[in-house]
């Protein structure tokens, strides 16, 4: 992937939530342009990165999908490590998947960076007629917990770009802000010397000095 050669930041973002809420669909929608299909299959299907431009910076979003692994505890807890963003996905037509949001949140805060940016995502917006989770209820919950909130449809691509871009922007804001100093968001991995611009080096100084 040529676009990977130069970027200023790599942000690790995890997709969490109950099985069957459409995490993989959201991801494949977002990364469709960089979808890689390895015919040798030894690598498996890899479609988890996308490079986006925010202002004058190039940000590589490394998105980790837990679909299929939700129940393997020892595997999933390792996924959270180093994550600076998370999309907590539920299905607007299945209330149970929304009720479990609090548990996922707790688990996330247990394992991930305390400054992690979290967005509550009500997926399957296209199933409006089957809705069991009112938008307002979810929004109130998100406000109370200090989460971002959006409703999406991976089926018709509604708000998918917006969801990821808002999370990436919020992460970048946190990284750039003065309040986040050393010891937090430590997992934001800057690209090595490769492709580093002057600007990104300044960014790096900004976020790493104590």
């Amino acid at each position: 992937m040529g676009s990977d050669d130069s970027y200023n930041f790599v942000f690790k973002v995890v997709l969490i939530g109950e099985s069957g809420v459409g995490k993989s669909n959201l991801l494949s929608r977002f990364t469709k342009n960089e979808f890689m299909h390895d015919s040798r299959t030894t690598i498996g299907v890899e479609f988890s990165t996308r490079t986006v431009q925010l202002d004058h910076l190039t940000i590589k979003a490394q998105i980790w999908d837990t679909a299929g692994l939700e129940r393997y505890r020892a595997i999933t807890s390792a996924y959270y490590r180093g994550a600076v963003g998370a999309l907590l996905v539920y299905d607007i037509s299945k209330h149970l998947t929304y009720e479990s949001a609090e548990r996922w949140l707790k688990e996330l805060y247990d394992h991930a960076d305390p400054h992690i940016v979290v967005m509550l995502v009500g997926n399957k917006k296209d199933l409006e007629t089957l809705r069991t989770v009112p938008t307002e209820e979810a929004k109130d919950f998100a406000d109370k917990k200090g989460l971002m909130f959006i409703e999406t449809s991976a089926l018709n691509s509604t708000n998918v770009e917006a969801a990821f871009n808002e999370v990436l922007t919020a992460i970048h804001k946190k990284v750039a802000s003065k309040e986040v100093t050393r010891g937090s968001i430590s997992a934001v991995t800057l690209s090595g010397s490769l492709g580093l611009t002057r600007e990104s080096q300044e960014e790096r100084k900004g976020c790493c000095k104590s």
């Binding site: 109950e18 690598i43 498996g44 679909a67 595997i75 479990s100 949140l105 394992h111």
Partner: protein, 398 residues
């Protein structure tokens, strides 16, 4: 001619995947209807090709427990402290293999299509075993009171992991390494100080091997190079199946042709998993040890409870706490969320295991056959169940 080709194709399917033609009722019915039609339209030859009556029974795959009688082989220690890493690794592999080979193609297919467990007891049990092993590893480490003894247990499990790699059992390897890298263990700084450099080195290598970096590329490379008996990390391949299923459409060219690329991708993974049913395990298990392990792994704790225990062993250093105002408030009330597979143990099953365990213990430790075992032996066996306090108190006199 085309009809005959189709019949040969059916034959190939039947011969290659006999279990499905024995277990999948829908498939059996369709095959029989197809055979009827073939009998009406074609010749004897067609009819013979689609015979599924000679397939042996695969009923064992459905049964959740089935145990072979094993000839008693001398006395064996049932103490974790006395067990060699290789013994533990072999017996864990026996349990893993027994559990994983029962998962049929239909079970995998159901998981991929639903994206979750729906009436899928074989897969559910395999996941429960995986989580059970991870928790057991954590609890055994945390059962020790001093950093030094905890480091000894960690060292032992690192060696178990090495042996598991040697046995090419990647699933249990992942469960053990996953347990050791869980926050309840990796936060134990004092304990880590007692680990020998070479142990830390092996630990790092093992962690790297099963790391999710580059979509588990290290693991995939290692797994593909293995020959003979091998057990994959099931979760990784399930994730692959779900990804392929979601990303590719089933049909292409305006729904007129099957998407061969997708089918080929699915086949590669399914084939790997289904072929597990036909491999032979070389492990000769000691059934008493198997009962003991089964019981040890069935005990269920929440992650909160394990983490609390970890905090009790090595309390947090207040200085290392992040103090930024943006720190999200951690929910304080303990949630009764049973993360992962909640296998509330069925009391009758647990009782059965306990009965078997007690029999095993007496067979091995009741040297004079008087129905009593020594206090000393009892205490050391009870140490295998570090958190069964009530069990210890109740039974000490028996």
């Amino acid at each position: 001619m085309t009809r005959l080709k189709i019949c040969y194709f059916m034959r190939y399917w039947i011969v290659t995947f006999p279990a499905e033609f024995n277990l999948d009722l829908g498939l059996i019915q369709i095959t029989e209807e197809f055979r009827e039609v073939a009998a009406q339209l074609g010749s004897e030859e067609h009819f013979k090709l689609i015979d599924i009556s000679a397939i042996p029974s695969y009923d064992w795959m459905r049964k959740l427990t089935q145990r072979k009688k094993q000839a008693k082989k001398g006395k064996a220690s049932l103490l974790f402290d006395h067990l060699e890493p290789v013994e533990l690794a072999e017996h864990l592999t026996f349990l893993e293999f027994k559990s994983i080979r029962r998962i049929s193609f239909t079970d995998y297919q159901s998981y991929v299509i639903h994206g979750c467990l729906v009436e899928n007891p074989t897969l559910e049990r395999s996941i429960a075993l995986f989580n059970g092993i991870s928790q057991w590893v954590q609890l055994m480490v945390l059962s020790k009171l001093t950093p030094q003894t905890r480091a000894e247990v960690i060292t032992k499990y690192i060696h178990v992991a090495q042996k598991l790699l040697h046995l090419q059992n990647f699933n249990t390897l992942m469960a053990v390494v996953g347990g050791l890298s869980h926050s309840s263990i990796c936060r134990l700084k004092e304990t880590h100080a007692y680990l020998a450099p070479e142990v830390l080195k092996i630990w790092n290598e093992m962690t790297e091997l099963v790391s999710s970096n580059n979509n588990y590329s290290n693991y995939r490379k290692a797994f593909n190079q293995c020959r003979g008996f091998k057990i994959p990390i099931l979760g990784v391949h399930l994730k692959d199946l779900i990804a392929v299923h979601v990303v590719f459409p089933d049909w292409v060219s305006d729904s007129s042709m099957v998407n061969l690329v997708k089918m080929h991708q699915l086949y590669m993974t399914f084939n790997e998993l289904v072929s597990l049913q036909s491999v032979v395990s070389q492990v000769e298990p000691n059934m008493d040890l198997i009962y003991l392990l089964t019981l040890s792994l069935d005990l269920y704790y929440t992650e909160d409870e394990i983490y609390e225990l970890s905090l009790l062993r090595e309390p947090r250093n207040p200085k290392s706490q992040p103090t930024s105002p943006t720190t999200p408030n951690k929910p304080l009330a303990p949630l009764d969320w049973a993360s992962g597979v909640t296998t509330k143990p069925d009391p009758s099953v647990v009782n059965k295991h306990i009965r078997k365990l007690v029999e095993s213990v007496f067979r091995n430790y009741d040297h004079d056959h008087d129905g009593y075992i020594s206090q000393e032996d009892f205490r050391s066996i009870a140490a295998n169940f570090p958190f069964l306090d009530s069990f210890c108190v109740l039974d000490k006199d028996q």
